[in-house]
């Protein structure tokens, strides 16, 4: 029975992420258009909001190309290996008082650890495409995602230290407003390293359009590419919501059911900020990215963690 429930939850989570991705892509196209003196989608639906309704069936039913030189099983299932961990990570986000889809005792660790598995999917896809540009993209992605995992985890730890628990639901229960200023630096580190973690601009070097064309998913067409994109937007949604919950108070910002609305709204604002950064900043280079991670972000995250520890001990 619990297996059946699990299946159901899984399907629901995928639907939610897919829906979120559809809205997200539309929103990104609008945001980027506004930034670039354009209008963005206009024709389908009000303000082009149903543009993705046309795009999705088209992508779904494009020819499913598997290159002759590709390593077929890896090539086929790599998109899933990227998407599944990200979809799983959404489950531990606390949406309302005392409720998360999957109320794990070590939920925060789960959230930090599981999406990193998608780096394996990226490596699979890069390897299996049998394409030099993909290979470079895959190697870049692996280095980047493994490195940025460190400041990201450290920054979340500062909240967990204050809360004294690893369970996101319990963190939300213990949350107090002064945590926002106390962990604000950690929040910035979390936001930056999350962007790097999901390979979005200005840290999109694994898929750098100007040099690698599309990087590790250069050889994916149609539905398989759509799954990659869904993974990217899913990661963005998960990171925004988790950040909104842990660092900005999530549903505790407003009382009752309004809290959930506020939580989603804060998440959406974070998503917009992530998009905004992508469309205004140039891209870093591989070595600059690593330098930034290890010499700037990680020390700041450690200092933040130390400060949070001092506060927690002093209380």
């Amino acid at each position: 029975m619990s297996f059946l429930w699990g299946m159901l939850w899984g399907v629901a989570a995928v639907m939610v992420i897919a829906g979120g991705a559809i809205v997200g892509v539309w929103w990104e196209r609008k945001v980027s258009a506004r930034i670039q003196l354009r209008l963005g989608p206009q024709q389908i639906g009000p303000a082009g909001s149903l543009q993705m309704v046309a795009d999705v069936p088209k992508l779904l039913f494009k020819e499913d190309i598997i290159p002759a030189a590709a390593d077929e099983p890896f090539f086929r299932y790599a998109p899933l290996a990227v998407f599944a961990p990200i979809a799983m990570s959404v489950a531990v986000i606390p949406f309302a008082t005392g409720w998360a889809p999957f109320d794990a005792t070590a939920g925060a660790l789960f959230f930090l650890a599981v999406p990193s598995i998608s780096v394996l999917g990226i490596l699979f896809s890069a390897w299996a495409s049998h394409n030099t540009l993909s290979a470079i993209g895959g190697v870049r992605a692996a280095a980047q995602m493994v490195s940025y995992e460190v400041p990201r985890s450290l920054s979340v730890l500062s909240v967990l230290v204050l809360a004294g628990t690893l369970r996101p639901v319990a963190v939300m229960d213990a949350w107090e407003w002064w945590w926002i200023p106390a962990t604000f630096v950690g929040f910035i580190v979390y936001l930056i390293s999350s962007i790097a973690e999901m390979n979005r601009g200005p840290f999109d070097i694994p898929e750098a359009e100007s040099e690698l064309v599309a990087g590790y998913f250069a050889d994916y067409a149609g539905i398989r590419w759509a799954v990659f994109m869904m993974g990217e937007y899913g990661g963005m949604i998960a990171a925004s919501l988790f950040g909104a919950a842990m660092f900005l108070g999530g549903f505790r910002l407003l009382p009752g059911a309004w809290g959930v609305v506020a939580f989603i709204a804060v998440g959406a604002v974070l998503m917009t900020i992530i998009m905004w950064m992508k469309w205004t900043f140039p891209r870093l280079r591989q070595d600059q990215l690593m330098t930034f991670c290890w010499t700037i972000l990680t020390p700041i995250a450690i200092v933040q963690l130390f400060a949070a520890g001092v506060i927690a001990a002093w209380l």
Partner: protein, 364 residues
């Protein structure tokens, strides 16, 4: 030293600025060797010119450097005028200067913007492109074409300016510097863009001279060589303008020099508009079939990419016996293997973009 990886970039690639193929040998991310394969747009314009009359070659020169068509028009027309001994009316010279400086702005916008796009800031490209669109609109009002103008003809220009055009140009020249300041702030002021462009692809001044680099590529390295001043032609001696120079010779300086040149061009245009006087725009009695006496003539102008020269050989018939275009982008592009060595793959596209090649002109 790891195993070397050969990566083929192009001929169709988002940041090759046309159809250029670069066979890159990588050691990890570091570029060890680049072989630039050009000629994917070799259309045989020099051969075609041998079977066209002097006037019929003008549309072909439009398609050489399609980002700066006016320059190729002008360089070719100057060579023909020298060959046939045609004197150009003063108003036509002023108009040529005005349209060519406008073209310089349009062309540099197609280089400053992509410099941003190459490092990942697509939005900068949109902003500079919006400026270019304004220039293109001005050209459309002037001669009806957005891209291939065919405006400068042997003996003058094809038509006088329409009513109100001068005011539109003045309005554009007033608004352009502030738009450039904005681009300067959000592209060249950005810390990531600075990090990506500074110290990348450093071209030493002596290398720039030895390799025949010209235009903003040479000036970015501090080589003060501008034909507008140093081999002054047309009415440029009467105009007062500065020549921006870079100091480091890296991608940042090259892009920055273009940005400043685009602002200087506004100054030149404004002065030219003040000085221009009514008069004919076409020399009298320029025949449809220009038949110069046998001989050879070479003339060059400072195009947006450097010194653009046209070498014409006449054998006394109405058709050129040989036309050769000295293309600045061709010479500048030869620098890529030298500049890119030792930098990373990401820098390679930045270096290529900073040389601003236009493949219509490189391949001819």
């Amino acid at each position: 030293m790891t195993e070397e990886l050969v990566v083929n970039i192009g001929p169709s690639h988002p940041s090759t600025h046309g159809v250029c193929r670069m066979v890159t040998t990588l050691d990890g991310e570091i570029v060890r060797h680049v072989e630039v394969v050009i000629g994917h747009l070799h259309r045989g314009i020099e051969k075609m010119a041998e079977n066209r009359t002097y006037l019929q070659v003008v549309p072909l020169t439009d398609r050489l450097d399609y980002v700066g068509s006016m320059y190729a028009n002008w360089a070719y027309c100057r060579a023909v005028e020298r060959l046939a001994g045609i004197r150009v009316p003063e108003r036509a010279e002023y108009l040529r200067v005005i349209v060519c400086e406008l073209q310089r702005i349009a062309s540099h916008m197609m280089s400053v913007g992509p410099a941003g796009a190459d490092v990942g800031a697509t939005t900068a490209f949109m902003y500079t492109f919006a400026q270019r669109e304004q220039v293109v609109d001005l050209f459309e009002q002037l001669c009806g074409a957005r891209l291939t103008y065919n405006y400068v003809r042997p003996g003058g220009v094809s038509m006088d300016v329409p009513e109100g055009w001068v005011d539109n140009v003045r309005a554009f020249c007033r608004s352009h510097p502030s738009a450039m300041a904005e681009v300067d702030r959000f592209l060249f002021g950005n810390v990531i863009a600075r990090q990506r462009m500074k110290g990348i692809g450093v071209l030493a001044p002596e290398d720039a001279v030895a390799w025949g680099a010209s235009g903003p590529v040479a000036r970015g390295s501090g080589v003060s060589w501008d034909l507008r001043r140093d081999d002054s032609y047309s009415v440029y001696p009467r105009l007062d303008f500065d020549i921006p120079l870079g100091s480091n010779g890296d991608c940042y300086d090259r892009a920055r020099v273009r940005l400043w040149e685009a602002i200087e061009s506004c100054r030149i245009i404004e002065q030219a508009l003040d000085q221009i006087e009514p008069g004919p725009v076409m020399a009298e009695a320029v025949p449809r079939l220009i038949t110069p006496r046998p001989g050879e003539a070479y003339d060059h102008i400072e195009g947006a990419r450097g010194s653009l020269g046209v070498y014409l050989v006449s054998d006394g018939t109405p058709r050129p016996y040989r036309m050769k275009v000295r293309s600045p982008a061709f010479c500048n592009l030869a620098l890529v293997p030298m500049l890119a060595e030792g930098h990373t793959l990401s820098d390679l596209v930045v270096i290529l973009g900073s040389l601003d090649p236009v493949f219509g002109e490189v391949d001819r």
